[in-house]
Symmetry: C2
Amino acid sequence: MVSDKQIKIIKSLKHKKNRIKYNLFVAEGDKTILELILAGYNIHSLYSINSQIEGVKNSVDQLSKSELNKISNLSNPKNSLAVFEIPKSKNINYNKLVIGLDNISDPGNLGTIIRLCDWFGIEDLICSFDTVDCYNPKVIQASMGSISRINITYLDLQNTIESNALKTYGTYMQGDSIYETDEIKKGLVLFGNEANGINPNLSKFIDRKLSIPRFGKLKKTESLNVANALSIVLSENARKSTEK
Amino acid sequence: MVSDKQIKIIKSLKHKKNRIKYNLFVAEGDKTILELILAGYNIHSLYSINSQIEGVKNSVDQLSKSELNKISNLSNPKNSLAVFEIPKSKNINYNKLVIGLDNISDPGNLGTIIRLCDWFGIEDLICSFDTVDCYNPKVIQASMGSISRINITYLDLQNTIESNALKTYGTYMQGDSIYETDEIKKGLVLFGNEANGINPNLSKFIDRKLSIPRFGKLKKTESLNVANALSIVLSENARKSTEK
């Protein structure tokens, strides 16, 4: 049973201002919910069409399918929905490779990027303030539980680079081939907005421009999607780490 | 000016059966239209809110914004829309690396995969019959013109592998690390459905299973999105081709 007041609050959490107001966010689906609980996220409320969720000890508010549909953000609602407290970001470990995102606007892209960071063992992701909120329901769903394993911090990128004197790499259409540069063991690698790339204001902080070479006869491909570019850069760096 | 009959036909082309019936497909936006024309696609009709499209010699049916919106498939229509004849597939060059897709269902994924093939110089893409149609409007838009440079053929994968005696690689969660295998200069590399991977019926035709290693402490990431996996595999193979 979910009250009208609860429905109103849960639905309101699709807007960032309400997530900030209540310090809460929504995750849907048994698997994602279980992963967030196992990662230590504090649960605020938990709803399911079943009497319990496998692996989850917390008590469940059992709802009918139509009640669950009322609070879901998905066009094809899953069997369960949970409201979690937004955790505080942890300290960033600048002694490792850190990924920085400048104004990534598509929630699906951010979710995929979080999943890729998780796959390649990246622990810290820094997002510019104008990057889409990582507690946006679409990001949560696209990250498929990986958000529980990545420390995501929203910061002013320029200020962060300056105050930590970070060696900073940027990904561009023109730059040093990622196949010919050394492994990046420490520093910040920046990826820019889907349409406009890295903000020109940040250019003066870029120590090295990196690029992914194009192949084939024509070399006319417009650009790579930012999540694809990130997957290639992280894979290549991880590969280098395995070289003897 | 676009007649009601034309509107009806153009709108009907969002369905595959009508694209087959008329042998036509729709592309939107000056850039994509120009690339398809330059690549030699035969134009059936061309509409724009402007009197001409830069770089395009073909005459334009000038429409008002609201008329163009009526025939567009996009939630944010662009300035132009063209109807093209569906070209015949060319012969497949099996002496190079060919990509095979088994039951890729998401049009955005297929569009991104076409763009990645273009970036990495892949010329031939083979799709199983149950893969989403490459002339689906969402695929055309996501491929951003790259579809004009990739030869896409819908075939029965099993039959194709057998009748051409293709050396076949498959991408799996478990397999030989792509970082430790040699460059694939010739053969078919298969990528499977977003949720279910490569159809088990095809397993016996796989000569070598490939996988992308996971990194980090936990290694709990569920999987990689198929377009990200393809971007990593193509990048790694292209990198090997640059090694001396």
